[in-house]
Amino acid sequence: MSPAEQAQITQSTRNGWLLSAPALVLLTIAAVGPLAIVVAYSFMPQGDFNGVAWGFSLEAWQGILFTKDVFDGTLAWADANLTIFWRSVKLSMLTTVFTFVVGFPTSWFIATRAPKARALWLFLITIPFWTNLLIRTFAINEIIRKEGLLNTILLKLHIISKPLEMIYTDTAVFIGMTYVYLPLMVLPLFASLDRFDMRLLEAAYDLYASPFQVLRKVIVPIVKPGIIAGSILVFVPSLGAYVTPRLLGGGKNMMIGNFIELQFGQGRNWPLGASLSVTLLFIVTGALLVYVRHANRETTHGQ
């Protein structure tokens, strides 16, 4: 390589870093750096009133799964915590599956419209996506709460004699999360289906496939990357959800997000909150890595 070529590359790389530097600085101060402190806190003992005390301790990590008996110091499963984890995972999975079941036909519907109409339908999915999460949750709240629209209608029609107790149940959280995260499933699925070559349908039907076989054997395998992307985009925020379970699940039906918040209130357990946060972060990172791996494999397959 000649010095001139070398100089060109060196300068290009230097400019790349210099231009990115301001963003990196802000992100380090107000996003990544604080995460490091959370990690550190998870290895510290609990402070006397709140916060942490200096020192090293694995108690917070132990505290995720076990409770220590106050008197004899024996360990027992922390049932309350386990219930919350199980609820979080269960609801997130249910949400993911259900958003897929209804989101796939929706994406297919959009992808098979004429180009002009397609843009409009897509826009209709995008509006709820960008609408304040709080407003959307609140809107669901208005429908399903005790004096809400659904109960009012059902009562007036005499289908039920007393209001259904839907709000502050797991079902309410599930309905709410499905509602707020559905666009996250539809958008990547649509992106995949939009690139799907519709002529393959002609080929499949020509070769005697039934509609169901076309779906199973042709469409789904080809748009698999979109399915995985959508599933992860729904599962990840569901697992860390805070607002929706807070408003629809009430104080009892907590998910991990609310449980973490609880640890940072007055006189609570900051190190435990930190270790819970790190755990959540790990699960999410793991899910994303699976996706990246898969996406990479798909693209190398394609070429």
């Binding site: 290009s12 790389t13 790349g16 870093w17 231009l19 990115s20 301001p22 963003a23 990196l24 802000l26 992100l27 107000a30 996003a31 750096g33 604080p34 402190i37 959370v38 209804v102 929706t106 297919w108 519907f109 959009i110 826009f123 209709l124 999915i125 995008t126 509006i127 709820p128 960008w130 609408t131 304040n132 999460l133 709080l134 407003i135 609140f138 809107a139 669901i140 709240n141 208005e142 429908i143 709460r145 629209l149 009012t152 509602y179 559905l182 519709m198 779906l215 990840v236 925020p237 860390g240 805070y242 607002v243 997000g257 918040e261 940072f264 930190a274 946060s277 959540l280 972060l281 990172t285």
Partner: protein, 267 residues
């Protein structure tokens, strides 16, 4: 009409589900909007058209304060994040891949990957330390936090625009005696502007919508519209919330429409 014949792309039941999904998506929001004009207090009964809840919200100083704070915060965050994202996008596109580029991508997209509650908790701890050390408790914390998590939202459309841009245009400019700065000023920037506006709009909407991080980072008396609403909903449901929601919704729809007009591909 009876028999529509075979349509290649139709799968049984799909259209029905899709229409159902659109109805389900818009029904709750629609009810919210409709009942914001209700004369009565409850969604249980419609008592006639009225703008009274808008009047109530407008007269409420807490709402006014929160609105102004929200707009100020969103505007600051959008301007800062868009500026930084534009620079970063220029730094990470259209040059030979360099060592550390993946690191930069991960850093920039980090706010999208980390669960919001975790970021919120992290910022709570970190800013509490700074507050204690410096005694400063102003809007700076919220602006910094919002600007940071808005960066990926501003970055994505700007980068997309840059990547879609024909590199030979810049080569042509340098061939026609433009210096690096002139090339940027007279060719790259004018072509990039729609992307920059689009990015700024997404950043603005993202900041305006944020609840979780704001709740954890704000000091006393720094309610934004969403945190004010959250507080209200926790206590009791008032029809005032419907009115505020409707206004926020209208703002989001307006900005999104503008965004789509800006990024729409010209035929």
């Amino acid at each position: 009409m009876a028999s529509k014949g075979f349509v290649l792309s139709r799968l049984p039941g799909f259209n029905a589900i899709a229409i159902g999904v659109f109805v389900a998506l818009y029904l709750p929001i629609g009810m919210l909007v409709v009942y914001s004009f209700n004369a009565g207090k409850s969604v249980a009964s419609w008592e006639g058209f009225s703008l009274q809840w808008y009047a109530v919200a407008w007269a409420n100083d807490a709402v006014k304060d929160a609105t102004i704070r929200s707009l100020y915060l969103a505007l600051s965050a959008a301007v800062i994040s868009t500026l930084l994202a534009t620079l970063a996008a220029l730094g990470t596109t259209r040059r030979a891949a360099f060592k550390g580029q993946t690191f930069i991508y991960v850093m920039i997209n980090q706010p999208l990957m980390v669960p919001e509650i975790v970021s919120a908790v992290a910022l709570l701890i970190f800013f509490a330390m700074i507050k204690q050390a410096t005694g400063y408790a102003g809007m700076g914390y919220l602006i910094a936090a919002h600007a940071a998590f808005c960066i990926p939202f501003a970055y994505l459309p700007i980068r997309a625009r840059l990547e879609g841009m024909d590199l030979t245009l810049e080569t042509a400019a340098s061939d026609l005696y433009a210096s690096s700065w002139q090339t940027f000023r007279f060719v790259t920037l004018p072509l990039l502007l729609p992307g920059i506006f689009a990015g700024m709009m997404l950043a603005f909407v993202t900041s305006l919508d944020d609840v979780v991080i704001t709740v954890f980072v704000k000091s006393a008396g720094q309610d934004t519209l969403p945190t004010y609403m959250l507080g209200q909903i926790r206590r009791q449901v008032t029809a005032e919330i419907n009115a505020i929601s409707t206004v926020l919704l209208a703002l989001t729809v307006a900005l999104l429409t503008l965004f789509f007009l800006l990024t729409r591909k010209k035929d």
